[in-house]
């Protein structure tokens, strides 16, 4: 018997018109539902996320079809990916049937759904259907039985699961009834290519042809109604993520990670700095709430949330959406809470893991800009003091600016301010210049460079804070003031290459300063020294094999994707890394980012201690870091935890300096 089936068997071609009309109505309802959201999003300011659309489109297709971000977290993620592909296959299959019946047969007079193709088609769809049911069951078990902590389940979730199950199961019931009536006896070898349908058909085998006919038609219309229901309510349930989350892969920023809007302080027409109400945010900020699927992965990784601070990145996104429901004038600070807003360390773990491409961090900074620039408030008096110190002396400690270059005493450095040439400008930063522990890093860096024959120039007392902590706390004015001065000073030296020992300075000089007119190549010491090693200008001897664990700082790892070079250096120096569970892109913040290095931690438990305990748990005994903030936080954390005997922290430069030679 030939391998094909009569499409619309038992349903009749007469119903096709009403079927299309009903389907059109459902689609209109869907489109209207989406269209009504547009006005909601437009309460926010305009933002161009439509540029370079071929690139955006390619990215969206790759992410949606590939499901890579979704599957990154195995629990739930793999199930969702498989469920999605199965459902997609079923959808494509149904479309193909429709195309065949209403276009290819009557107009082109070709039948694709026959022979080997049809056999393959049947098998694939059956497997997809079974897979979808299995994966959905897995997701349901996770949500309703295992109940992971923090996963909110609402009525909507019950309805959606029920609806999807019903659609899938009625699909097989339709197939089973059809096969029982037309294939079970008539074409048994074709039936093998629809194994699940075959199983269902066998259950109905005893019934009469009339009964099977009735069952088939009933299930067919039931399945049809459920699908139409699915389509029409889509925009009003969590299922809207099919559109909005996919769209967010299109709308995701193309700028480098961590790029912030640089306020034009010359513009005298600006009356509101930062975000106080919904109207002060962009449409994308409101859209993110619709793209959010409440998967809570951001919350699970947020160092503030995990240490019981009032911040949840997921709630932040959703609260903005809720506020927007109440109108564009809705105040945000009261809804979200100043304490939550100040708790963020801008570590980007939330954005890194978010499968919906939501942008959490910049919203926090916009809210902070309002708090700082419009209300003049700070997370604490100590931060205010630090801000004043930055204004007066160009460093948050309040130490005399004239002493900024004192760390270099006795070292071979060039004061480039006086026009002397150098190979690189070493932008030391505030901590390396003034903090006792971090001065060692600065001194080591210079010695390492000298060993490689590199002439190091410094600005000394002409250097000021790069402004990053101020910027991340919302003080755009103070940041730009400091930045403009630094940029002028740096440009005047004529230097062509800057190297820093601080990832925060590194990010700020290489990316943020470009908006303010600096276009000089800037590197972090890890990639710079690694390059010296690769070029043969620096030689390291392996020495005794040592164990350590390595902390990827947020601003080097997640922000700049620099994960392998520091490890290469450690290995070249003869050190062996016992990785922590949360390493690489999943690295857990030390707690000092987002300007919080200037603030006291008064809520919840200590973020730095949490990380210290993770490091101590590796048993490696030595924790290696690459950032002055991390080094400071970890030294502090070791003293205030139980790990004083079991863990020491070293900067990467301290490892390298001991192994120069060979």
């Amino acid at each position: 018997m030939e391998a094909t089936r009569e499409i619309y068997w038992n349903i009749g071609h007469g119903t096709v018109l009403s079927m299309y009309l009903l389907a059109a109505a459902a689609i209109v309802l869907l489109a209207r539902g989406i269209w009504m959201r547009v006005a909601h999003w437009r309460q926010g300011k305009p933002l161009n996320r439509f540029d370079r659309y071929p690139e955006r489109t390619r990215r969206m297709i790759a992410e949606v079809l590939g499901q890579k971000k979704v599957a990154r977290v195995r629990a739930g993620g793999v199930f969702h990916a498989l469920f999605f592909w199965s459902f997609l296959i079923l959808f494509a299959g149904t479309l193909l049937v429709m195309l065949q019946a209403d276009f290819m047969t009557p107009v082109l007079q070709i039948n694709l759904l026959q022979g080997h193709f049809y056999r393959g088609f049947s098998l694939v769809l059956d497997v997809a259907g079974a897979g979808a049911i299995l994966m959905l069951a897995g997701l349901a078990v996770r949500r309703f039985l295992l109940k992971p902590v923090g996963l909110e389940t609402v009525n909507d979730d019950y309805r959606i699961h029920a609806l999807l199950f019903a659609i899938l199961i009625t699909g097989f019931l339709v197939e089973g009834a059809r096969m029982a009536a037309t294939e079970l006896e008539q074409n048994p070898e074709l039936a093998l290519f629809s194994p699940v349908g075959l199983g269902v058909a066998k259950l109905m085998a005893g019934a009469s042809l009339e009964k099977l006919s009735l069952l088939h038609r009933t299930f067919w219309w039931l399945h049809f109604a459920l699908v139409l229901g699915f389509i029409s309510i889509l925009s009003r349930t969590k299922l809207k993520h099919i559109f909005f989350t996919s769209a967010n892969a299109f709308f995701a920023p193309l700028e480098p990670k961590g790029a912030l809007a640089t306020i034009n302080l010359e513009d005298e027409t600006i009356e509101q700095f930062g975000a106080a109400t919904v109207a002060d945010l962009s449409w994308k900020d409101i859209f993110d709430a619709d793209a959010c699927t409440s998967c809570k992965r951001c919350q699970d990784r947020c160092p503030a949330h995990v240490t019981a601070k009032p911040l949840s990145p997921m709630k932040l996104i959703q609260q903005i959406g809720e506020a927007a429901e109440s109108g564009s004038n809705t105040g945000l600070i009261e809804t979200i809470g100043a304490e939550a807003i100040w708790s963020c360390t801008t570590c980007r773990a939330c954005e890194d893991i978010c499968p919906a491409n939501n942008e959490h961090v910049n919203k926090v900074i916009e809210l902070r800009r309002n708090l700082t620039l419009m209300e003049g408030t700070f997370p604490g008096d100590e931060v205010r003091t630090a801000a004043t110190n930055l204004e007066v002396n160009g460093n948050p400690f309040g130490m005399a600016f004239a002493a900024r270059g004192d760390w270099a005493e006795g070292l071979e450095v060039v004061r480039v301010g006086e026009g002397e040439p150098a190979d690189i400008l070493y932008f030391a930063g505030c901590y390396a210049s003034f903090d006792k522990r971090n001065r060692e890093v600065a001194r080591n860096f210079v010695k390492i460079c000298n060993a490689a024959g590199v002439k190091v120039g410094i600005l000394g007392k002409d250097e000021k804070c790069c402004g990053e902590p101020a910027r991340k706390l919302g003080n755009e004015y103070l940041y730009q003031m400091l930045a403009q001065e630094d940029i002028e000073t740096i440009k005047a030296t004529g230097i062509r290459k800057i190297v820093t020992t601080c990832p925060h300075c590194f990010n700020t000089l290489s990316r943020d300063y470009q908006d303010l007119g600096l276009a000089i190549e800037t590197e972090h010491y890890s990639t710079w020294i690694n390059q010296l090693l690769e070029d043969g200008r620096l030689k390291l001897k392996q020495g005794e094999l040592q164990d350590c664990t390595y902390h990827d700082s947020c601003y080097l790892g997640r922000y700049k994707d620099i994960l392998s070079e520091p490890r290469a250096l450690l290995n070249a120096a003869g050190w062996q890394i016992k990785e922590m569970d949360q390493s690489g892109y999943a690295s857990f913040c030390c707690g000092a980012g987002g300007g919080r290095i200037l603030a006291e931690e008064n809520l919840g438990s200590r973020i730095n201690v949490a990380r210290i305990e993770q490091a101590a748990a590796t048993g490696a005994g030595i924790l290696v870091s690459n950032c002055p903030f991390c080094l400071t936080m970890f030294e502090d954390g070791i003293k205030t935890s139980d790990c004083e005997e079991t863990l020491k922290v070293r900067d990467l430069t301290e490892i390298i300096i001991e192994r120069i030679g060979g």
Binding site: E268, L373, M374, V392, N393, M399, A400, A402
Partner: protein, 258 residues
């Protein structure tokens, strides 16, 4: 109501101080400058009073010195002062409090100020005299070291910080001058809109020579760092002998034991 606030630009106290070439004051190289801390309380209190009175009062802020003092004037304007007066003087550090106070009084005399606020003292010179002298020059009521200030129906109710934790309550009628002490208020951090508005406020520049009519009453003759202290003395030996030695030293060398 017309309010005058007198502010001084002082070096940041963390700076390294070295005597100037003339040996009469400190060298200004490598110094970071900021508004005198006590003067910040004065500016803040003036702005608070203005807000209390429905923004009717006009606050003038004045500073004496070279071009760099414009920065502290701008800060005061950003905090809420309405206009600024810059008395251009290339060497204010050569003038003692008598001359400084006379300059201010000469400026203020015919302006009809109801209230003048100054800091209790400056962080560099610390004379604590300018405010009081200005009040005397002008015949204003005066109270110093305020840690509390309220204004009701034309009367200032001031709370002064005295020794031993005591507070003195003083009522003054206008015109009056008060000097402000730590604890009076928490100066506001200027908001960005206020910083931008401040850029448009008037800064009037006057030459100090037009206002200087007094000769100095006291002259600085020397400015030097204190001599390095000698090393400590370590007592050794018998416990009773050491105790006696210690008592002898305390009696002879200090006024701790009588």
């Amino acid at each position: 109501m017309k309010i005058l606030v007198c502010i001084k630009q002082v070096p940041d106290m963390e700076s390294r101080f070295k005597p100037a070439a003339d040996g009469l004051w400190f060298n200004e190289a490598d110094l970071a400058w900021r508004i005198n801390e006590y003067d910040e309380y004065a500016v803040e209190q003036a702005v608070k009073l203005k807000e209390q009175l429905g923004n009717e009062p006009e606050i003038t802020v004045l500073s004496i010195g070279p071009d760099r003092v414009v920065e502290v004037l701008k800060k005061a304007l950003a905090m809420g002062a309405d206009r600024a007066v810059h008395v251009q003087d290339s060497a204010p550090q050569q003038k003692g409090p008598w001359q400084i106070a006379s300059i201010i009084a000469n400026y203020a005399r015919d302006k009809g100020f109801d209230l003048i606020l100054t800091g209790m003292q400056s962080q560099d010179r610390g004379s604590a005299q300018v405010g009081v002298l200005v009040a005397e020059f002008l015949g204003f009521a005066c109270a110093t070291t305020l840690v509390g200030f309220s204004y009701v129906d034309g009367v200032i109710h001031a709370k002064r910080e005295l020794e031993g934790g005591l507070k003195g309550l003083v009522d003054l009628r206008l015109p009056a001058l008060v000097t402000c002490q730590l604890g009076l208020n928490i100066p506001r951090y200027p908001t960005l809109p206020n910083i931008m508005r401040a850029k448009k406020k008037e800064i009037e520049t006057l030459s100090v020579t037009s206002l200087l009519t007094e000769e100095p009453l006291a002259i600085t003759t020397q400015f030097y760092a204190p001599a390095r202290k000698e090393g400590g003395l370590v007592l050794e030996g018998d416990l009773n002998e050491m105790a006696q030695q210690l008592v002898d030293i305390l009696q002879e060398k200090t006024s701790v034991v009588r």
